[in-house]
Subunit: 323 residues, 2 copies
């Protein structure tokens, strides 16, 4: 049973530790990386030995996040996961090594499984980076341009550049503070939201071509299969930002993206508006996430994956078939 | 010669007036409408007779901006244009009626032509709504949910939902204040950035199909002609948000959108990054705008419009042909 602790207690715990290993989730995004590197830089400023471990290779575009933050090699005496809702999300290698011995988890997912000895969760926060911002203030470390860059990245990426429902007044105020402290917000937003390769544009065109509608237009389903990826020449980082597209279509309650993985199975992303809980729909297929954005993996063919997710949508939102 | 005045002087001037006509620019956007209706509501709260006039029909999607704000009919004793850089932009009918007798202009365009008797310009502001926010505070009127909704709309639409370089700390802080005061930010962002009709999706697909590249990929040009609009069934409000697309492509310095007007001529939108001044490029063809986003109209065929804008790009950024 995990002990639920406050940001103050989390800060005190980190203050006492000396050799700290921070853990990011696999398929790393701007929030898990931004939160971890912000905390890493702040704890190093206090003279501690700290580094960040991620089970996957960090995409090239995030290189600006860890520029100038040393990553020493050492044996940790304290392990802290940031923005990791479930131990499984660390990825198999990291889970095998550190599973069951994580001292602290700092997170903003309401679905956090409580796998760490101590859990500091605030699901009201749009990004884990906002909790980290508070902990860094409690540690009495200055917000340097490096830390501001990391925190701003976490907030802007997890709020879809301040577009989603979670982009509340607090998110804007912390973002403003980060800008004041030197976060190069234009570069950060451009890197994360405004640069598309030509391959990505081509992939997007093909994906739009194959958009399908169900439930009287209330559900939109987009598919990205291996042949489209090969034909367009798209790389892994060309895939980001595709899942929100189907839900943006007028009248759509549930936007679904089926993306074929290398093993042929489908990774499913679900996005919802105010009508439905994406996390509940994905839970029906063994997945999870947030209220408006969640995911799961389904084994089998496209037909099987499509049938499974549509069934889950109908089970999760019975009135979708009747309006 | 227009007198340049401060926000304090503008507030004092409005405070003294009784029957105030506010003017928005033609092809109205979220900022000119949000700024005008925010100011209208605030001045009405002071007991004044006020309404907003726009030379074009206000698109349906902006109806939430003026809900509950009365629009009485009266003979004005004071005329104030908001977010209107040039008298021409009022549209021919409004310009004929009020041109040369505009008492005050509140604006954030550095290219403001100084057509009003008094001009209150602050080009550091991302949106005219930010200047209006300041003037309303100076008028000592409470920011109601109605006013907050209008101001938030102006800021979010003129910053591309806080994505552009103008989305600075002040923009975020005023947005946070508006959220605190009751702006339904999720609805506003969804209406302005997150809803696309199926016709729009189809139009976007066709536009992406026809994207052309020049200057070693540094210039991208997208065309929306009349036949594409007809084929997709797209309406006027399906066109918004298209101009930023070409510049989002990796390696692109200048993104150009050629949109065929009803008379066959082309309206050109230019978007630039840090490499170039969009406003200077469009000025070469008789247009104008902001540093990173500007426009102009070119008479003639697609071939002529395309040749003219490419020439202007080469003239405005000589090193675009050499890298």
């Amino acid at each position: 049973m995990s002990k639920i602790i406050t940001a103050e207690q989390a800060a005190a715990m980190l203050q006492k530790a000396d050799r700290i290993l921070l853990l990011a989730h696999q398929y790393p995004d701007g929030d898990t990386l931004g939160s971890n590197f912000a905390l890493c830089s702040a704890l190093q400023a206090l003279g501690k030995t700290v580094r960040v471990l991620c089970g996957d290779t960090i995409p090239e575009r995030y290189a600006y996040l860890y520029e100038g933050i040393e990553q020493p090699d050492f044996e940790p005496d304290f392990v802290c996961a940031v923005d990791v809702a479930d131990e499984k999300l660390l990825g198999p290698a990291v889970q095998t090594q550190y599973g069951g011995r994580i001292d602290l988890c700092i997170d903003h997912h309401s679905t956090n499984t409580g796998y760490a000895a101590n859990t500091c969760v605030d699901a009201r926060c749009a990004a884990a980076a906002m909790i980290v911002h508070r902990i860094i203030s409690l540690l009495d470390v200055d917000i340097t341009p490096t830390i501001a860059t990391c925190i701003f990245t976490g907030i802007t990426t997890d709020t879809g550049c301040f577009k989603y429902s979670n982009a509340d007044a607090t998110a804007h105020r912390i973002a403003a503070d980060c800008i004041d402290k030197g976060a190069p917000y234009e570069m950060i937003n451009r890197v994360n939201f405004d640069v598309k390769s030509r391959a990505r544009i081509e992939l997007e065109r093909m994906a739009l071509d194959g958009m399908r509608f169900y439930h009287d237009g209330r559900t939109a389903l987009m598919t990205i299969n291996r042949s489209m990826v090969e034909k367009s020449g798209a790389k892994e980082n060309d895939m980001e930002g595709l899942p929100p597209i189907p839900r943006q279509i007028e009248g759509v309650w549930v936007g679904i993206t089926l993306r074929q993985k290398e093993d042929g199975n489908y990774k499913i992303s679900v996005r919802t508006g105010t009508h439905a809980d994406a996390s509940a729909i994905c839970a029906l297929l063994g997945g999870g996430g947030h209220n408006r954005a969640a995911g799961c993996v389904v084994e089998g063919s496209w037909e099987e994956a499509q049938a499974a997710i549509l069934r889950a949508v109908e089970q999760g939102i019975p009135r979708i078939t009747t309006g």
